[in-house]
Amino acid sequence: MENQLLKIRSTKDKLIETNEISQQLRKRLRLSETLIQTLLLIFGAVSILTTLGIVYELGKESWLFFGREEVSLVEFLTTTTWQPVAGKFGVLPLINATLMTSFFAMLVSLPLGLSAAIYLSEYASARARSLLKPILEILAGIPTVVYGYFALTFMTPLLRSIFGSDTVQIYNTLSAGLVMGIMILPLVSSMSEDALNAVPNSLREAAYSLGATRLETAIKVVVPAALSGIVAAFILGVSRAVGETMIVAIAAGSGPAFTLNPFRAAETMTGYIARISGGDLAYDTPDYNSIFAIGLLLFLVTLVLNMISRRIAARFREVYE
């Protein structure tokens, strides 16, 4: 090979052959690099395993649950009595209670959260923001069991003193829902605020230059422009409400009840799971399996809500980036 015979003067005042350089540049076997990369990939895959674990376990046990002769999927989804001892497995009362608490929660957190977001992004001075935002962050950091305590020992007595203790039961969905709304408020407000902040200033200036007041600019220009971001916040809030356990387990009552009365006790899906698994739960009983069936439902509902929320939020970001 002619190439190998070629010699040149190197900068180091010695002759360097091309094949000597080839030797020096040769690929090294860097075992530790490969090992580390593999290990890190495995760490990354742990999250996949978690998901697979969730799907597999929930799926398997639900399969066993619906495989029992006393249970049928149709009955599960359409009948209104949940009484495992009597062989009645209609999940509707649990879903109904979940919807009710979530509804009250959103009734609180959406208007308040959106108003707070508008205030923080369109009105507040830097000083006011630096004062108010940490408060919302603290609210977001309070454990839900504490909110549950608050619902039972403060909100419920308050409701009973307003509506009368004959009307309002000690455990009721309204109290749990309202307090849940306070819990979700920081989430809705901070996500909505981000959305409002993402609206370019040129849009505001355009509105002002047409003679709009600050309110008109905020409500008629900025909020509509940020609407999809706000919707994403709302949906994520709903998902959080549906999955919330401790507040409802403490304050909404135990024992499934199919009722639309907000002053009455009714057990939500999460509340049921928490109560049933509280004691020493024997494996492979209908109770044990039912946890997984309801857990699966819960998982699917929140997953879909989260995915929709993230899809909407991503599309919203695309518009303004």
Partner: protein, 412 residues
Amino acid sequence: MRFSLVDSSNKGKTTNLARRHQIGKIWHAIFFLSTATGLLALVTLLLSIINQSFGLMAVDYKVDPSTLSARPLEQLSNSELIDILKSNVSKIRLRTLEREKPLDQRTTDELLELVNTQIVGQKIIYTWKLHESIFRRAEIEAEIARDYPNARLEFRAWLNWQFLKNTMSSQAQFAGIRTALLGSLNLILYTILFALPIGIGAAIYLEEYARKDLWYNRIIQTNIDNLAGVPSIVYGILGLAIFVRALQPLTSGALFGTPAENGRTILSAGLTMALLVLPIIIINAQEAIRAVPDTIRQASYGLGATKWQTIWSHVLPYALPGILTGNILAISRAIGETAPLILVGASTFITSDPNGPFSHFTALPIQIYNWTTRPQEQFRNIAAAAIIVLMTTLLMINALAILLRNRYSKKI
């Protein structure tokens, strides 16, 4: 623009403008008040908890403590307490107690509780909230004097030193959170042990190694984002199925020859919490790593450094404060989580300190949940006291995060 901002027919009418400003002011106030609701809620919550942690308590006795000893029981020594026990408790009962744990090996607090439960028979009749205790004191005193002439009314701080030190008890006034606090700290230790290296490792992989155009990397990322939104109780179900049940030989310690009858152990709980906080840790760490300027990586590669050398020596040290702050916040979330612990079977009545990964356990939030759901008022009081302890713990952890961030951000 699609929106008609100013109704053209009203142009120039100053009265209309005045009205618009009026409406603007009203809404300004509404927006402000909505934001302030957060503050109102926070203050109400804190006050209502403090309101429950202090207040009057009416106690009744089978035997008046003053007949047992001239001095208050709390001031007696161990041997004096044992003497009282020996002279007031039946022989058979004494023998049982000795068998449970020899009297001379018990602590003063334990002896005191024995005297109270076995002899004095202290029983709480009712407890009052702080505001009632202050504003209705005379009324309460009269009421108790009328209905329970033997009862004693005393002001009690439910949050006290004994409360931190004592183990569980079936009577609220003797119950403490020692085991629960230790349980929480222990299980968080395992959570950190597993979640931190895996979480940071995964974040490094996703930010530094993963090519975003490869399908499996995209799946990992999407999956993590989705996992972050899975309700915590679902993690509890997973923990029950995998750690408590499927991996029982491991999590009960049976594989290691440690006797524990099932997988409802600290290890199971710690692992479950680790899975729960993992997505949060990964996402936080990713953000911190993404904030490392690319010029630093280039400088390192330009010197002929390998990928890992670059990450280890430059990327990680730079990202560390951010990673730590994010992680501390994730960990503090795990400390407050309750639902998953219910599923993996935290016991509510445990009197011995946790010893190692395979011990059964209780945790602070579990204790709060348990006490909150008891019907007797006095358990609400100790639940409130426990909440104060929990929130103080979280507050200190968060302060630590802020401190860390400030210290490191000054250094770089």
